[in-house]
């Protein structure tokens, strides 16, 4: 049997490797392109500003859905930020290398891998049922806080760790306590990184569906308080496609969703690029 020359193998392998890259990009282009092209005819200012009418064709727009989404995301971030940032500060600045820290890190890592629907079950049992918050913005937000906490902690911790060591030494040498150093030197320096973390979590909150499907209730009415139900853009896409078969409206809502996500992705990439460059320049 003649052996295939290493050069032929190399050429074939390059076809395989580049093929993989091209298919990956194609998947992205097909998904995004299809939703944008199919959704574009349904997009208008009117669509964004009128309330959904319900019914089998899913008439109307998505105004109440946008308000619910923003409301939910704002409540979530308000609770998530102090907890996530606090935990990140502990892990980056205070934690000693001991068993307790390993347990805390295990908690963060494992929580990050728990699927959305399990958070949904938990939220349903604790917030919706046991605490009598019913299907509401508050139940949904509390569930989202649990789900997003690991992401928030990791990204904030990275932001803290990117601050050059010299900042800490300088502050401590001037007689600052550890907390003075953290609150007046590290946090301002890490602020752009923390903002990036927040935007990243906003993006993930908008993408999330399963845990909200069983905690938010899905009402299409305008939310009036923390205890009213609601539906996010993602949930709206699901209901339109599965319950009313209103595919045109679903595509239009999907297009809004994708444009939002692309904007958020671009913003986080740009912010973190600038932050990294500034921190490297500051050493």
């Amino acid at each position: 049997m003649r052996r295939v020359s290493p050069r032929t193998t190399q050429a074939l392998a390059m076809v395989y490797v580049w093929g993989g890259g091209i298919i990956t990009v194609l998947i992205l282009v097909v998904v995004i392109g299809y939703v944008l092209v199919q959704g574009a005819p349904g997009l208008s200012l009117d669509f964004l500003l009128t309330a959904p009418q319900g019914g089998l064709s899913g008439e109307g727009g998505i105004s109440t859905v946008i308000v619910s989404t923003i409301y939910l995301v704002a409540v979530t971030v308000a609770m998530l930020l102090p907890i996530g940032l606090g935990a990140a500060i502990y892990l980056a600045e205070y934690a000693a290398d001991n068993r307790l820290t390993r347990v805390i890190r295990y908690g963060v890592e494992t929580l990050a891998g728990v699927p959305s629907i399990i958070f949904g079950l938990f939220g349903f049992a604790l917030f919706v049922t046991a605490l009598h918050l019913n299907f509401s913005i508050l139940s949904g937000a509390l569930t989202l806080v649990c789900l997003l906490l690991p992401t928030m902690i990791r990204t904030c911790e990275e932001a803290m760790k990117a601050v050059p060591y010299g900042y800490r030494e300088a502050a401590l040498a001037l007689g600052a306590t550890r907390w003075q150093m953290t609150s007046r030197v590290l946090l301002p320096a890490a602020l752009p990184g923390i903002v990036t973390a927040i935007i990243l979590c906003v993006g993930r909150a908008i993408e999330e569906t399963a845990c909200l499907y069983v905690t938010l209730g899905g009402s299409a009415a305008m939310p009036t308080s923390l205890l009213s139900g609601g539906r996010t853009l993602s949930l709206h896409v699901f209901y339109l496609a599965m319950e009313t078969n209103a595919f045109e409206k679903a595509m239009a809502t999907g297009a809004v969703l994708i444009i939002t996500i692309i904007a958020i992705n671009t913003l986080t990439n740009w912010l973190s690029y600038r932050f990294q460059r500034r921190m490297r320049g500051a050493v």
Binding site: M14, G20, I83, Y90
Partner: protein, 288 residues
């Protein structure tokens, strides 16, 4: 208040916030077990896990068909995502010029960012009719596997790429100096050295696949049957919970929480395996 008091107070406060993740994890376990455990008493663990019939109306609670459904779509998606993802990871880490890399990496990140309902929607409108042409009614394990492949792909790519990059340059230089071609170096030296990371990427991808819910509900048909061919519809464990929890009561509700226990244990097991393999991999490389 003295600054030293503030310093001590702050230390306690940030410590408490840091323990919350672990406490939430514990609370999830406690709540799901508390709600789901009665099922195991009433139905029996073995009957619950190996029962083929799920008819809540008649008090029959067996999740074997859903286990088979989840296993089928997970296996299907990994079969597609592993060769594709590893190719893309090699391209990013070893082959592509920096211009291509600068374009490809954000594209992979964007794949993670696309909401699962959007994948489900595109699958529902494009893939389901396409599968219907081959046979069956289109809502199928095949359509679900393809949708899931797109969602698992970024996990496989990014963790495999990291582990390929973590291989010491000396390995590569040594192989090239001995006259190996670039591909021989990648195939015989770099990939074997990075295998634990690549393995971990597959395990983590598997975790994502098992946990995915909404996109699966949209394309798999949700019928409670054993899928016998890729063209058959099925129902996943996650889909079973999501579809029925809003109207379930009594033991039916308990049984859904018990489904959650099975899912939760499986995911925690997968993640622990991934963490251990990744640690072992970095340990071996730091010794080199």
């Amino acid at each position: 208040m003295s600054r030293h008091f503030m310093d001590r107070l702050a230390r306690y406060v940030v410590f408490v916030t840091a323990t919350l993740s672990f406490l939430i994890l514990l609370a999830i376990a406690v709540f799901i077990v508390k709600e789901g455990a009665p099922t195991f008493e009433k139905v029996g663990v073995l009957d619950f896990l190996t029962g083929g019939v799920w008819r809540p109306g008649q008090g029959q609670y067996g999740i074997l068909a859903m286990i088979a459904g989840s296993a089928a779509v997970t296996a299907g998606s990994l079969l597609l995502a592993i060769p594709l993802g590893i190719a893309c990871a090699i391209l990013l880490a070893e082959v592509a010029p920096s211009g291509v890399r600068r374009f490809l990496r954000p594209a992979v990140e964007l794949l993670v960012g696309i909401p699962s309902v959007v994948y489900g929607l595109v699958g529902l409108v494009l893939l389901v009719p396409a599968v219907r042409h081959i046979g069956g009614n289109g809502f199928s394990v095949l359509a679900a596997s393809i949708v899931l492949m797109a969602m698992v792909l970024p996990t496989v790519i990014s963790i495999s790429e990291d582990s390929i990059r973590a291989v010491p340059v000396a390995y590569k230089e040594g192989a090239l100096a001995l006259g190996a071609t670039h591909w021989q170096t990648i195939w015989r030296v770099i990939l074997p050295a990075a295998r634990s990371g690549i393995g971990a990427s597959i395990v983590l991808g598997m975790g994502r696949a098992v946990g995915e819910t909404m996109a699966m509900i949209m394309v798999i048909g949700n019928s409670i049957v054993f899928p016998k061919s890729p063209l058959d519809p099925a129902r996943t464990l996650t889909g079973n919970i999501a579809v029925e929890i809003s109207y379930a009561t009594g033991i039916h509700e308990d049984a859904l929480f018990a489904t959650g226990i099975v899912l939760f244990l499986f995911i925690v097991l997968l993640n622990s395996i991934a963490v251990v393999t990744l640690k072992r991999g970095t340990h071996a490389q730091s010794l080199a």
